[in-house]
Amino acid sequence: MKRKSLLTTLLIYCALVGLGLIFLVPILIMLSGSLKIDTRVLIEAGSLAGLVPEQPSLENYRDVSTRVPFIRYLVNSTLITSSIVLTGLLVNSLAGYAFARLQWPGRDALLFTVIALMIIPLEAIAVPLFYQVTLLGWRDTYLVQILPFIANAFSIYLFYSFFLDFPKELEEAARIDGAGPVRIFFSVVAPNAKPVFATVAILTFLTQWGSFLWPLLVTHSEAVRPLPLGIAAFYTLPPLQWGDIFAFGVMMIVPVLLLFMAFQRWFIRGVATTGVKG
């Protein structure tokens, strides 16, 4: 293979560092802003030197827990997101497996429908869905924030494409060894599909952890509202304190970073094997 010249390598590195900074700088501004006194946050935001707080303080973090019920929001978000992730993994993996491996009437037509559903955004169906859950009397509950998001066309498609390439011999060996389809899935297929499970778990977690529109539509009490609505609550609580908002933001992304760090090995492998991009 032809070796890249020093100049090409340098250019690639510069481009990558630049790209990295684009993603990193907002997080750094948020982190540094969360440690500043509220009056300094916007004043210093325009300069690089302002990234380092002169007198770092944890006051904004204390404010967050006194001005809004942060723990309540955190528990709600954790409950809602983990319910969607865990039940979603079960439901979508089984659906993906059924599409990839089982023969049943109407399979191809249904698969086509599932793939087509991937391009429909929530905003497009939010109003009819809202009407439906209102009829069912589900508004302002955990259920209304969980149930519509368990089955996910994109997750099903990821599982489907992974299981298509799964070595058939392992399943056939298990069939000959006496296992039925359910046992084969849980004892042979799923344990060897960790990358796709991790990928789907992280992608679902990220989407649901930051979900704003739907909870805003269907909830009104703090008892069931998730973190993104908590951060929005600051806008309605004068005075508008950016330091508190940044501190809330930092506390909100910590669980996501921890999750990613825990599963990043599987996630990267999953991205490589399922062809997920971006």
Partner: protein, 381 residues
């Protein structure tokens, strides 16, 4: 123990793809059958149909006189070793061996005892805690055999089990499989494209091509009495030399025209009567070892010139064309297997000698012109 019968079994994937066409095959209890043939000949389909991994389009498959077409794989009491072993990557060797027993809901104590027995039998005791990725190719192969044997199946299916191993290990494990089969006396069907495995392992060997059974017989029968040109060319390495011929009578003697030369056939030659009565002989077949470079009593001489010589140590392969170098000739390249070193140069004109009794004769449709069938001879055990 189990006897197996395929009765007019066909497998079609669609109108244009026939993987197996009207296979009829009887396999005795405890017999070791090898299915051999080129890629895509349908040999693995036979195994998969018997295992229940695929359903036949037509025909019946019976194990011990019981039709099993509608039985699930796990209800057929068969075990299979896959080409790539299909060991469960997330399980230890012990768990891989125990898996079929757990599926039978056997007690933990009984599972441990059985797994240890099999580990002892296949020399796997040291490897029980390892994962498949920590094993060598040969060890994986043994674990796959162990997983197949552990639940004492009545039929043992092996789908090209040695093809992922290097040559040395292959010959060693080949011998191990033969010994194991001899000891356990399980009905075994072994699929391979390697004719050395076929000839050394099988009590009987079934040669397949394009979804059809070409011939089934002992290795000796296949080699010495091939039923058609395909079997003649497939069995043996190098394969049998095949060329068109015309047999004719002249002065009350039979002659054969081969590549522009005439071969006199003495009346003592095997199949003389059939040849003299047949008007349909179209091909001649000669095994490479039937040629001699020096004259031997009873042999006839043919003019030839050398195209290439390959020295293999104990023997040499001489590639030649019939006719002299300066004469017109057809492009058929013949191969002679000659003991020791051959001192010859390319394009050298030689006389090559052939025993007419060692010639195989085939009809224009490719079938053997002398032997009808080889089924009557008892298989070796």
């Amino acid at each position: 123990m189990a006897a197996i019968a395929f009765n007019q079994v066909s497998k079609r994937y669609d109108e244009n793809t026939t993987a197996l066409n009207a296979l009829s095959l009887q396999i005795d209890d405890g017999e070791f059958i090898v299915l051999v043939g080129p890629s895509g000949c349908g040999k693995s389909t036979v195994l998969r149909l018997l295992a229940g991994l695929e359903q036949p389009s037509e025909g019946e498959i019976a194990i011990d006189d019981k039709v099993v077409n509608d039985l699930m794989p796990q209800q057929r009491n068969i075990a299979m070793v896959f080409q790539n072993y299909a060991l469960y990557p997330h399980m230890s060797v012990r768990d891989n061996l125990a898996f079929p027993l757990r599926m039978q809901r056997m007690g933990k104590q009984a599972i441990d005892t059985r797994v240890n027995e099999i580990a002892q039998l296949l020399d796997l005791a040291e490897l029980l805690q390892r994962r498949p990725k920590q094993l060598s190719g040969g060890q994986k192969q043994r674990v796959a055999m162990g997983r197949a044997l552990v639940r004492d199946p009545s039929v043992f299916l092996l789908d090209e089990p040695l093809s992922n191993l290097d040559a040395k290990l292959r010959s060693q494990i080949r011998a191990d499989i033969a010994q194991l089969q001899l000891r356990l006396r399980k009905t075994t069907i072994y699929v391979t494209h390697d004719q050395i495995e076929a000839m050394t392992l099988g009590h009987r060997v079934a040669v397949m091509n394009r979804g059809e059974l070409q011939q089934i017989g002992t290795p000796e029968q296949l080699y010495n009495r091939p039923q058609n040109i395909f079997v003649a060319g497939f069995i043996g390495n190098p394969g049998m030399n095949i060329a068109t011929t015309e047999v004719f009578a002249q002065n009350n003697d039979l002659h054969a025209a081969i590549c522009g030369q005439t071969l006199h056939l003495p009346s003592a030659v095997q199949g003389y009567n059939e040849l003299s009565q047949s008007e349909n002989v179209g091909y001649i077949g000669v095994r490479p070892e039937a040629f001699r470079l020096s004259k031997v009593d009873g042999c006839v001489a043919l003019k030839a010139y050398i195209a290439a010589v390959e020295y293999l140590g104990a023997e040499s392969l001489v590639y030649f064309h019939l006719s002299s170098h300066d004469q017109a000739h057809d492009n058929t390249t013949w191969i002679a297997r000659i003991n020791g070193h051959v001192d010859a140069t390319i394009d050298q004109n030689i006389e090559i000698f052939l025993d007419p009794g060692a010639i195989h004769w085939f009809n224009s449709d490719g079938s053997n012109a002398i032997f009808d069938t080889c089924q009557s001879v008892q298989p070796r055990r």
